[in-house]
């Protein structure tokens, strides 16, 4: 019995003390991803999107906090992945090599976000294979505004290295984004 207690005390000693802990733990979507931003996507003013790039090259796409849809008073009602010929939600990528994953272009549309009085088109911002869309948005569109940087993501894309190099040129870093958009605050 005593051995177990000693073991427990030893284990606890391995863990940080309160004063060693940061006041706010950095969120996983900040530590594991580099944040980039695209302003005025599709030429439409304030259609701002984020693109979080993981160390492994995958890109998570979503609405940036400064997006018009998130700043208007009317709530987001619908997120629809059906953008014409096919619904993006119908795609099936299978296997390690992501067979049958659709390749989308930088300006391909991902989904339509509708509020009471307006409609917004969300675009890829990078050329790559579509791996996943966030179907939770179909049943709970409020996630888009409630959980902007994490659970409100729109889709996950897998670009090739060359595609990334090209897209990176027109994307903003977080610092640049803050400068450009925070001026409006």
């Amino acid at each position: 019995m005593e051995d177990k207690e000693e073991e427990n005390a030893a284990v606890l000693a391995l863990y940080p003390r309160a004063h060693e802990l940061p006041a706010r733990a950095p969120p996983a979507h900040e530590t594991n991803f580099t944040h980039y931003f695209a302003l005025d996507v599709g030429g439409k003013e304030f259609h701002d999107q984020y693109l979080y790039r993981h160390g492994n090259g995958l890109c998570v796409v979503g609405l940036a906090p400064s997006h018009l849809a998130l700043r208007s008073p009317s709530k987001i009602k619908i997120v629809d992945y059906d953008v014409g010929k096919k619904s993006r939600a119908d795609m099936k990528a299978s296997g390690r090599r992501k067979k049958d994953a659709q390749v989308l272009e930088e300006n391909s549309s991902l989904c339509k976000v509708s509020s009471e009085d307006a409609e917004f088109l969300v675009r890829c911002c990078i050329r790559g294979q579509l791996l996943e869309v966030n179907e939770r948005l179909t049943s709970d569109p409020s996630l888009l505004s409630r959980k902007v940087p994490s659970q409100g993501y729109i889709a996950i894309l897998m670009p090739k290295p060359e595609a990334w190099k090209k897209a990176e040129k027109s994307l903003l870093t977080r610092e640049q984004y803050k400068q450009q958009r925070m001026q409006q605050e």
Binding site: H29, H54, V60
Partner: protein, 486 residues
């Protein structure tokens, strides 16, 4: 003439023996064709002319090849001199320590053809005595004869016993320059439908391929394309001997105290990630001790570079290839101590010992069934309460659905994997309002980090959803890998 041989000689039918010797077979090959087995091969056996003188030369000599220098079947293999010494030299060059040995023999593919040829001749001359089409059913194989002939000689030279179960293998490879051209007619005959093998023994067909070709040819067809009895051979075979030891397994459990060490060396485009690897820290101490060619590191699962491995440790095994030295348990204990005394203290090892081939089954056992225990430092977006602790600890056998985490999605199938969190236990952390220690036990293959932070909501339920707030994981440790391990 030695007694054992004389005894064997008397038992043999004289007419076939005479024909074999006059066709150019050496004494030992003649014995092979007449199904003689055993110790007599290693004795000093007289040359064909002597035997013929003994049993009578017979008449009707078209050609008598009995005084040729080289056997037409084995092409001098069974007459090789100094085999024991050649093997001794090969071993001394490598510097192997061993207790017993087994022999592996390779002969040129042309030997099979020559055997078939001599057999066809024998059947023609003595159809009542030799009925089978395939000589391999009746004659003693050349490889076996080599082991009988040279086994005792090698045992004497090395001072060790020959045992087919030995972990030390001595290889005798006999080569002949003309072998591939001699068997060329076979692939021409079968229309070249035999697959070209990559890197075969002698830039031609392998023994197995030749065997298959011969099995499919009738004796008549064979006799039309290849002389029966086989033609004389002027050059004897050459012997190349080598040796190797079976893999040795050193097993144990490791603990990892550093959050910047990966399990195996990790390089991204020529840059090393992390401060080192468990594999190198353990391997660098153990490997030099065995004077081996190389080693491979295997572990029962792995943890991320920033995750510590505590508790009883994770089972691992070091596969050491072609070790020159044998090890003793006391030496392994010293190696264990050496690893544990490393000034960095990043990796410790327990229970280091040698194991046999059973390690593979033990490592694989119930990989999917095993449960793992972890401790995580969790942060909540609002102060932690007792109610939170109760909620989590009341959760037993909780089933969660995990989409392939984004961090591995580039190299794994996009699937949803159901997993079970068997139990959870919380511990307050040193006067911190938003942090606590989460101890949990999960099914093998659960991504624990994703269970805490939710992975953009793709792992559900997650700690945040269970406590109705945002949760993040600051750090993670593996505290138990349950496995009965040697």
């Amino acid at each position: 003439m030695e007694a054992l041989f004389r005894e064997a000689l008397l038992a043999l039918p004289p007419a076939p023996l005479r024909d074999l010797l006059r066709a150019g077979a050496c004494s030992l090959c003649a014995m092979r064709f007449l199904s003689v087995r055993g110790r007599v091969y290693s004795q000093s056996v007289p040359a064909p002319p002597t035997i013929l003188a003994e049993i009578g030369n017979g008449d009707g000599l078209e050609s008598d090849r009995s005084s040729a220098s080289c056997c037409t079947v084995c092409q001098g293999i069974l007459q090789s001199a100094g085999v024991g010494l050649a093997v001794l030299e090969a071993i001394q060059k490598e510097g192997h320590e061993f207790c017993d040995f087994s022999l592996e023999v390779t002969v040129p593919s042309a030997t099979l053809v020559r055997e078939r040829s001599l057999w066809c001749y024998l059947r023609k001359e003595h159809p009542e005595d030799f009925k089978a089409e395939d000589p391999n059913e009746c004659i003693v194989s050349l490889k076996e004869a080599v082991k009988w002939t040279f086994g005792p000689q090698i045992e004497a030279a090395l001072g060790k016993v020959m045992d087919k179960n030995s972990n030390f293998h001595i290889s005798l490879v006999f080569k002949h320059a003309n072998s591939s051209s001699e068997i060329q007619f076979l692939s021409d005959l079968s229309g070249g439908d035999s697959k070209r093998k990559r890197g075969p023994v002698e830039a031609g067909e392998s023994i197995a391929a030749v065997q298959r070709s011969l099995a499919s040819i009738s004796s008549d067809a064979f006799a039309r394309h290849y002389p029966c009895p086989p033609p004389q051979s002027d050059t004897p075979c050459e012997l190349v001997s080598s040796c190797r030891k079976d893999a040795i397994f050193v097993v144990g459990r490791y603990l990892k105290y550093s959050r910047s060490i990966s399990q195996s060396p990790w390089t991204i485009q020529e840059d090393r990630i992390g401060d080192g690897s468990v594999q190198e820290i353990i391997g660098d101490v153990i490997f030099p001790h065995f004077k081996a060619d190389s080693y491979k590191f295997h572990a029962a699962g792995r943890e991320d570079i920033d995750v510590r491995m505590l508790g009883s440790g994770r089972p691992f095994l070091l596969e050491i290839l072609n070790a020159r030295t044998c090890s003793k348990q006391e030496e392994l204990l010293k190696l264990e101590h050496a690893i544990n005394s490393n000034k960095d203290g990043w990796v410790k090892v327990k229970g280091l010992k040698e194991a046999g081939n059973e390690v593979w089954t033990v490592m694989r056992q119930g990989e999917a069934d095993k449960q793992k225990e972890y401790t995580a430092v969790v942060w909540l977006s609002r102060p932690v309460t007792e109610a939170d602790f109760t909620t989590l600890s009341n959760s037993k056998e909780l089933e969660i659905q995990q989409k392939t985490p984004v961090r591995v999605l580039h190299r794994r199938s996009p699937l949803v994997r159901p997993r079970i969190i068997h139990w959870m236990r919380c511990e307050a952390l040193h006067d911190s309002s938003c942090y606590f220690l989460l101890h949990l036990c999960t099914q093998a293959g659960t991504y624990v980090k994703e269970f805490v932070h939710g992975d953009l909501g793709r792992t559900y339920p997650n700690v945040g959803s269970l406590l109705d707030c945002d949760a993040e994981i600051l750090c993670l440790d593996v505290t138990n890998v349950k496995m009965d391990f040697l």
